[in-house]
Symmetry: C2
Subunit: 234 residues, 2 copies
DNA sequence: CCAAAAGTGTTATTTTTACACCCATGA
DNA sequence: TCATGGGTGTAAAAATAACACTTTTGG
């Protein structure tokens, strides 16, 4: 069957930008390639879309290979399609944006792929246009974390308000007022007090909350402001 | 040169969702296909990405073919990649979102493509997954018109505040308070009073404004609220 | 002179910001 | 007992929402 004889068939790649948070910094999961092409250089985790595979399934497959996780927060970000973006062969790359709970990943799988968690500041040069992809993903993270409750995807199942605050401070690289932040968060009605306290702290133990899964679903598309207004123009 | 021998080459399509505004309704530019496949049915305007063409250039080419316009507001929206989305052959489609000033388009070109401006309510069933694409684009329009000053792209070079209000009322399908809307708009500093008045009106003539191009560029990424807060949860 | 649409001002309410003190904990 | 981080309240400022009258125009 060939209804479109004159059109070009092109490689379709999938590249994944994977963010994590270690309690202090936002990190990217990058791989040091032990395969060709560009062996020895750093890149995003990727692969090709299979002939009979749904695009979204391809992203899940690639994320699973690297992290051992199946229920990851994934969004399609943007498709990169400059004619010369891959010098080997014309390739269009669909970039996916993933947020994971950093403690959940399978460190064996990560190790076997020669991958590492790297802070944004310390990231090496990446191959092809992967640098631009990361730039776009950081932009997306900043933009969307202010409007939707996606920050939770980077934290453990149970988390404290101070943890969440540190996350937002890392994303926007600004200090946030503790009192206002806490009030704003609690007023969303998204947080359920688990009654437990955090043991990690050497001082007063913070309350552990979990997400109200129902409300999270229904409120996800609301427009919010986790970010101070002074950041809105950036 | 074939560095990736085992990967599949796939057709890459480009489909364009083109919005216009006639002063009363938001409209879509759709084509009634006078070519195979699916001849006689309605679809989005589209085409295939050429072997040596940048993706963004492909979108511009396709938009130009249909509208005769080159400086159109275009954003990449989303890539649709279900394995079975095109029954003819595996095709991944990159969907673009375009806003045009409806009076500017080349009606000859539109006619020769068998295309028509159709209101959202009156739109026919579309082929393949084009229906979903349109749904996604409407969502995107609603979301983004509230946060960025993209509404202007649907209006003539010179426009009045009441025109802009009607546009927003059409997008969100709600009545907006004239006084609050006008104040909010003018406070952005984006509008320049041209000193002219609108002749179309049968009653009091409204002031014609134009965009402050400089400010438009610098303020584009600001987060705004052209939408009343009561809509935020939708 | 009247119907229809444009323009504009004030007040109440809500949201956001700025800011300081007390509490719990383990070393 | 003290240093560290967690928890909370209040008042000022800013933004938003609600609301009504006057002006211009063409028929």
């Amino acid at each position: 069957m060939n209804n479109y004889p004159q059109a070009s068939r092109i490689l379709v790649a999938i590249d994944c930008i994977i963010f994590g948070f270690d309690g202090k910094d936002i990190k990217l999961l990058l791989i040091k390639r032990n395969f060709e092409p560009e062996k020895g250089k750093w890149s995003l985790m990727g692969g090709f879309l299979n002939a009979e595979e749904d695009l979204a399934d391809g992203a899940v497959r690639i994320l699973y290979n690297l992290t051992g996780l199946k229920d990851i927060y994934v969004e399609q970000l943007e498709t990169f399609g400059k004619a010369d973006r891959d010098p080997g062969e014309r390739t269009v790359s669909v970039v996916f944006f993933a947020l994971i709970k950093i403690d959940d990943h399978d460190s064996e799988a990560v190790k076997s792929h020669n991958a590492a968690w790297i802070t944004l500041d310390a990231r090496p040069k990446l191959i092809f246009d992967h640098e631009q992809m990361v730039g776009r993903a950081i932009e997306h993270l900043k933009y969307n974390a202010a409007l939707h409750p996606i920050g939770f995807e980077l934290l453990p199942e149970r988390f404290t308000i101070p943890q969440l605050q540190k996350l937002y401070e890392a994303i926007y690289n600004i200090p946030i007022d503790r009192r206002n932040f806490s009030r704003k968060l609690l007023s969303t009605g998204l947080l359920i007090d688990t009654g437990q306290k955090n043991n990690n702290s050497a001082t007063k133990k913070a309350t552990l909350y979990k997400l109200d899964a129902e409300r999270y679903k229904t409120k996800f598309h609301s427009f919010w402001n986790f970010m101070p207004d002074s950041m809105k123009s950036q």
